[in-house]
């Protein structure tokens, strides 16, 4: 998160190999839910910026509207414009699975971004973050810190994002499972809605409910701005906090090490840039030059990395 809207340089990349050389012109259709949130905004910005780096790519974007039927309708108008490849971040993977099947059947390769289609026939390439893994990373970091501090029965809070989304459930499941390996559990879980103001409300109530805390995992760095504000306002600092996604502000705060935020687990919107790059290769029938295979593979899952004070400088340019 930063106050200006262009994509940070670390979020896009052109390979230096022959794959980058201009080839057959490719029209890439792109659809993602409307950005009401820094991460989604970064997804769209990155995709657009990455496409701009290729002279042979025509980039057509439709916004996804409010829900699945609206996104379906938007995608139909996109299909009418005859794209070579579609890069699609659906509201919900299961909801748009049928569209994926339809498009693939019609011969348009679909690159499924982030929210996964359950049906393998519905996409040519799936590139996504690892929500479960994110929870695991956060749990692992907190578990190790608690062990290091010799806290036998830590009080752990969790502030997830919109609770009715499946991705939230996956993150929480990973977190819970990993904590269980340390013999820990979540004392209180109060969801926010991925925005700073809701994060603030959730955090203030969490702090109220737990007069003493040892660790907090906040799923999202954007809402984390509000969470940190609430913590400051309540004058609390007896615990450590782990963020999620890896925003620039969060990485800076970790590096500065002047708040309770000690780490964040990544879920990088750079996957949008990769998706565009790979969509171009798919459109041109090329493979990834570092791999032996002649074609782009079918599934790529980003690992969720843990950013701490020690490695923050490496990740600084990836922050969104």
């Amino acid at each position: 998160t930063s106050n200006d809207a262009s994509a940070p340089e670390g979020q896009t990349k052109v390979a230096d190999a022959s794959a980058a050389a201009p080839g057959k012109p490719v029209t890439i259709g792109f659809s993602a839910p409307a950005a009401d949130h820094g991460w989604l905004a970064a997804i769209t910005t990155n995709a657009k910026a990455q496409a701009g780096l290729y002279s042979d790519v025509t980039f057509k974007t439709v916004e996804a509207g409010a829900d699945a039927p609206a996104q379906l309708a938007a995608l139909r108008t996109l299909i009418a414009q005859k794209p070579d490849v579609i890069v699609l971040l659906p509201h919900d993977g299961k909801e748009l699975n049928a569209f994926g099947l339809e498009a693939m059947k019609a011969g348009i390769p679909v690159v499924n971004l982030d929210r996964a289609f359950p049906d393998a026939l519905a996409y040519r390439l799936q590139i996504k973050g690892d929500n479960y893994g994110m929870g695991v990373s956060a749990g692992k970091y907190i578990g190790e810190q608690m062990k290091a501090k010799n806290i036998a029965n830590p009080i752990i809070g969790e502030i997830p994002g919109i609770d009715s989304l499946e991705l939230t459930s996956e993150r929480s499941a990973g977190f819970k499972a990993e904590l269980a390996t340390f013999g820990f559990s979540v004392a209180r879980r109060i969801p926010a809605e991925f925005t700073a103001d809701t994060g603030r409300v959730a955090a203030s109530q969490l702090l109220q409910a737990l007069p003493k805390i040892d660790a907090v995992w906040n799923h999202d760095d954007d809402q984390g701005i509000g969470v940190l504000a609430a913590i400051t306002q309540a004058n609390r600092s007896e615990f450590i906090m782990v963020g999620g996604a890896g925003s620039k502000a969060a990485i800076d705060a970790i590096a500065a090490d002047n708040s309770v935020l000690k780490a964040t687990v990544t879920y990088s919107p750079s996957m949008a840039s990769s998706a565009i790059t790979l969509a171009r290769l798919i459109g041109q029938g090329k493979g990834m030059s570092d791999l032996v295979e002649l074609q782009v593979p079918k599934e790529i899952t980003l690992t969720s990395e843990t950013i701490t004070k020690e490695n923050a400088s490496t990740y600084a340019k990836l922050g969104f």
């Binding site: 909801e95 699975n97 989304l165």
Partner: protein, 356 residues
């Protein structure tokens, strides 16, 4: 001077101007008002299409694309459209149903649980419709017999129904494995998607119900002046209750349609559909305070909103610009209606003066 004197002005010729035999009265009556309103809405629609054609001439040059685009707009409008028909009844009857979107979600989620799906398509449809109707009935009971303000009762239901839907679905997106249900959105009959037929069917039934049946007449009476309706022997409470049940029923139908479109259901589906439906009804000329409204107007309202969305998608505008423009279009649409209506009235008024 005649100040001091009483005067008798010559008798006017019988029935001078007080009751002119109403030329064009058919148009000046309230029936006429809603017709001019709807003409205004059609004008707005035409304008939107023209804007589309001007901004994307190559797409609009292709007639098969235009046809498929029309179908796409109708499909987009269909789910909210069905909700809006029920909402129109509730609003004309003097109420409001903020729980519509939540009922859609609850009915959709309930209809796609593993247990329900095992009963096949009929079981799913039956479940969605029954769940919708029952939730509507509960709304109705709270409002009619619990004497809650409709706004509060249905707001409470909104919160509760979404909570229950989340509970039932375990916050997961429940995939519908039923090919018949999914086919409702995927299949066409005579080149027109099944969804559009369902939408049209609900609209026609709604129109007949409102305009041609005693139920519809009671609805207008109950919303227009509940005390007068009561003193005319209409059971106002019972009728209001039925209106909410009707709205719930429409939400149940919409739940099936939405599930078919998304091949799945989840607790967050149909989010804010109630606002869309209310806005469409009001744009269409339904009085928020009850007693007046038309099904045609509401449907036009829904289609206008869908056309705006479509127009934006075709032109690839970013959402923030879309929203700013959309606000302007809504205002303009209402102003155009008012303008047309007034000028028509004035036209008749002027006409009359010259002919009398």
């Amino acid at each position: 001077m005649s100040d001091a004197t009483a005067t008798a002005v010559a008798e006017s010729p019988q029935h001078g101007g007080a009751t002119p035999p109403a030329k064009g009265g058919r148009w000046r009556g309230d029936l006429g008002e809603s017709i001019t309103r709807n003409l205004g809405l059609l004008g707005v629609l035409a304008l939107l299409i023209i804007i589309g054609a001007v901004t994307q001439p190559d797409l609009y040059g292709d007639s098969s694309w235009v046809w498929s685009n029309v179908l796409s707009i109708l499909q987009l409008a269909s789910v909210v459209g069905v909700v809006t028909v029920g909402m129109t009844f509730v609003i004309i009857g003097g109420g409001i149903d903020l729980s519509a979107g939540a009922i859609v979600a609850l009915a959709g989620v309930w209809a796609t649980t593993v247990a329900t799906q095992s009963y096949g398509a009929a079981g799913m449809i039956f479940t969605a419709i029954i769940v919708g109707t029952i939730v509507g009935l509960v709304n109705g009971v709270l409002i009619s017999y619990g004497r809650l303000v409709p706004f509060i009762a249905t707001l409470a239901m909104l919160v509760a129904a979404r909570g229950l839907a989340a509970q039932i679905s375990g916050k997961q997106t429940q995939v519908s494995a039923n090919t018949f249900i999914n086919g409702i959105a995927a299949n066409k009959f005579l080149g027109i998607p099944i969804l559009v037929y369902i939408f049209a069917g609900v609209v026609i039934v709604g129109w007949v119900l409102l305009n041609r049946t005693t139920f519809g007449r009671r609805t207008v009476a109950v919303g227009g002046n509940p005390e007068a309706a009561r003193l005319a022997g209409i059971n106002v409470k019972w009728h209001s209750l039925l209106l909410y049940a009707l709205s719930g029923l429409c939400c149940g139908i919409a739940a099936i349609m939405l599930t078919a479109q998304a091949n799945s259901a989840q607790a967050a589906m149909g989010n804010l559909y109630e606002l869309d439906a209310i806005a469409a009804a009001i744009i269409g000329g339904t009085l928020l305070s009850g007693g007046r409204g038309t099904i045609i107007g509401s449907v036009l309202g829904v289609i206008i909103f869908a056309t705006i969305t479509n127009l934006f998608a075709i032109n690839g505008l970013p959402v923030e610009i879309q929203n700013m423009v959309k606000g302007g279009i809504i205002v303009a649409a209402v102003l155009i209606q008012q303008f047309r209506f007034k000028s028509v009235t004035q036209f008749f008024a002027r006409n009359k003066v010259t002919t009398t």
